[in-house]
């Protein structure tokens, strides 16, 4: 090492100063991820009753990760077929992208049948959102503004920002009622400048679990249409929210039927449990098939300098499941099973809170849907849950219901009652 210092000091003085330290001396430590921080603290905790309600991944009733049976079957099929490992096309596995589009749009969708769409494989939800964001930055010159609901998934903001767009917000969650601030949302959306981009969560809003009812979606569609907004749907929980894939895709399909040509990001992380395999898709509904081809060609130009072409494994598993009738049936049962367990935990949590003698209104816990629940707990109350009961969640009071089991729901209710009575 001494030799290196000598070499450094041999350089011209001004430059030696610049080079004597590292190139990275000025690089700041990035802030820790708030959600990862929760898991880190949870891991260090030695309390046997500890609960991790930060994790955004499904757990079974024993608190364990769950690999779907249809996934195992698809994997066995893949192993036996001994396929090669050649590069996928830039746009991904065709059987997968076609099945993804059909899953989202519905097999009877005019947009699907006419071929006036392009679907490319993306790196799960994040990668699909990013492709769309980059595409908008490059080709959507009418606006730089993306309107997110307040609140939204934490990663939406940096994704769009890194793509070169600006973030705005519309009212969405009402902390007083722990439900949708519909009039606030409609008021804000009706004032969004024309041709701005609006992001909507298709179902199971993250982090609040608060979704519009169908009549409310209809009004939203009408307003969005009137304001001529570009709609970008994020659908990360199709099937996982209500247990019914068609019901969960209702809003997306309704908007398209109303003549709104949407952008759509899909993830198979939760509904197929394929988290680490990064299976996802990005779709653009176009005027016609010819336009879809042009858009596709530009998406490929965007993807190639990002990672060249997507990973096969997750997409192949998803494709086999979606395209094999028996496996598809099995998947629908399993995804409903996951959704039902979550719904049941919500119900049990509320009934346990009542049993504890809580006088608060906990109806929002069962009104909300999907993996997450905005409990309404305040930061001080969350702090107490962590310190006194070893129950870990994010400061905003969000819990992952997936982390609740029949074995610990009583303890959770007890703890919540203690900090709120």
């Amino acid at each position: 090492m001494a030799l290196l210092h000598t070499r450094r000091f041999l350089a011209a003085p001004r430059l030696a100063a610049a080079r004597a330290s590292s190139w990275w001396s000025h690089v700041e430590m990035g802030p820790p991820d708030p959600i990862l921080g929760v898991t880190e603290a949870f891991k260090r905790d030695t309390n046997s009753k500890k609960m991790n309600l930060g994790v955004g991944a499904y757990r079974d009733d024993n608190g364990k990760p769950y690999v779907l049976n249809c996934v195992r079957k698809a994997e066995a099929m893949i192993a036996s077929q001994k396929m090669d490992k050649e590069y996928l096309p830039i746009a991904g596995l065709a059987d997968f992208t076609r099945a993804s589009a059909e899953l989202a749009l519905g097999e009877n969708s005019e947009a699907f049948k006419s071929g006036r769409y392009v679907t490319v494989q993306g790196i799960s939800g994040t990668g699909s959102l990013r492709i769309g964001a980059n595409f908008l930055q490059r080709f959507f010159k009418a606006s730089r503004d993306v309107y997110l609901p307040k609140p939204s998934w934490g990663n939406h903001t940096p994704i769009f920002r890194d793509a070169g767009l600006q973030l705005q917000a519309y009212r969405y969650y009402d902390p007083k009622t722990c439900s949708l601030d519909f009039s606030g949302a409609m008021d804000d959306i009706s004032k969004i400048p024309e041709k701005s981009i609006i992001l909507l969560h298709a179902c199971a809003h993250n982090p609040t679990g608060v979704d519009p009812r169908q009549e409310q979606w209809k009004e939203l569609a009408a307003t969005v249409k009137k304001r001529n907004l570009l709609v970008y749907f994020d659908m990360a929980y199709q099937g996982f929210a209500s247990g019914d894939i068609n019901r969960d895709a209702w809003a997306v399909r309704y908007f398209i039927e109303q003549g709104i040509n949407v952008l759509l990001s899909q993830s198979y992380a939760k509904n197929m449990g394929l988290y680490g395999e990064r299976a996802g898709a990005f779709t653009v509904i176009c005027s016609d098939a010819e336009e879809a081809k042009r858009v596709e060609s530009q998406l490929k130009i965007l993807i190639r300098p990002m990672y060249s072409n997507p990973p096969l494994n997750g997409a192949r598993i998803a494709s086999i499941i979606l395209n094999t009738p028996d496996l598809r049936k099995e998947w629908l049962v399993e995804v409903k099973g996951m959704a039902d367990r979550i719904i049941s935990m919500r119900t049990q949590l509320v009934s346990n809170l009542k049993k504890e003698g809580s006088s608060h209104n906990w109806q929002h816990i069962t009104d909300q849907i999907g993996m997450f629940c905005f409990t309404g707990l305040k930061p001080e109350q969350v702090e107490r849950l962590i310190k006194e009961f070893s129950i870990y969640m994010t400061k905003d009071g969000r819990i992952s219901v997936a982390g609740v089991t029949s074995g610990n729901v009583g303890y959770l209710a007890h703890a919540i009652h203690q900090v709120t009575k």
């Binding site: 070499r7 350089a11 430059l15 080079r19 330290s21 590292s22 190139w23 990275w24 001396s25 000025h26 690089v27 700041e28 430590m29 990035g30 991820d33 991944a57 990760p65 192993a79 001994k82 090669d84 490992k85 050649e86 590069y87 996928l88 096309p89 830039i90 790196i123 799960s124 994040t126 990013r130 959507f140 940096p158 920002r161 890194d162 041709k195 570009l230 003549g259 040509n261 992380a269 988290y275 680490g276 990064r278 653009v284 176009c286 005027s287 336009e291 081809k293 042009r294 858009v295 060609s297 490929k300 190639r304 300098p305 990002m306 990672y307 060249s308 072409n309 990973p311 494994n313 997750g314």
Partner: protein, 413 residues
Amino acid sequence: MAASIFTAVPRAPPVAVFKLTADFREDGDSRKVNLGVGAYRTDEGQPWVLPVVKKVEQMIANDSSLNHEYLPILGLPEFRANASRIALGDDSPAIKENRVGGGVQSLGGTGALRIGAEFLRRWYNGNNNTATPVYISAPSWENHNSVFVDAGFKDIRTYHYWDAAKRGLDLQGLLNDMEKAPEFSIFILHACAHNPTGTDPTPDQWKQIAAVMKRRFLFPFFDSAYQGFASGSLDKDAWAVRYFVSEGFELFCAQSFSKNFGLYNERVGNLTVVGKDADNVQRVLSQMEKIVRTTWSNPPSQGARIVATTLSSPQLFAEWKDNVKTMADRVLLMRSELRSRLESLGTPGTWNHITEQIGMFSFTGLNPKQVEYMIKEKHIYLMASGRINMCGLTTKNLDYVAKSIHEAVTKIQ
């Protein structure tokens, strides 16, 4: 139907190398040969899943304790550490001194390049300095340019590399460009088996390059897509990267396991970061996490598991090295066979460059007109630059390809 917001979106040209393969597929001529896209082929012209990969995949499939949970943002720890160790060597002082961000698991070599480029644009030579010149060899892999453009760099330049007249490295041109480059410029260096020319600097030439780069404060960003695949030896193919590390450079090395593991479609890559000390490297990694989070959140699991399992088992590691040598040896054989045929045919020009070049590719020296002849008349598909993929050659098509090159060179000027 109302006018679309996408009405004005123009049709983009297809990526050349993939278009070539598409055209090849549609060609009905039985003599056709694909010397385009860079993927290994057996002597039967088939893709080859490495035996060790098949074995490990079966192990993974049979292990019911494995699940599909998210990997950490920076990737599978066993993969990252092993991958960086492969690049830098078991006894790397940088690893011992804990100044290696080993590494950032990425989506192939492309993904590693992109994360590195995004980081450099944000944090190198100031903050968000898009004006830092980025130098790419002339010629280079065509995607290098796009990676750095899309990462936000505004000043992308080329440095002299290929001397078409003498069909070799233009070392003097390269060194001159480095002398004239603004200080702190970024240089993309091919660690071995330069794509597309197959022409690498000798160790002595690398020493000269490193000396200039050190004196001029130029940043080395290595692209290592063929380690093991070029010479058959992992260590030999990593010599340049390791030399730079031993000379005290801070550098990036984008590694791809697409070719040397044959894991093309699983997108297995690693960005190795070598810094001055552990503290600097930690801060760099923390910022790379943020970049990864908005690009793909966390990387895919399957390919990393295969590589990590293989590299961390002495027996599987030995098997893998053997598989890699098999591929490298076949390429070397095709090189010598093609050269000897061209020389026997008395094809005008010199053909020693075919065996002097290294790796998957060879810059034949054929000009665009001759290339067109090869494609249209002989149904032999190669890039307009004259680049051929040696892996596309087999004992069955060597004669036909050699004769066709002979025809192209003698008929077309």
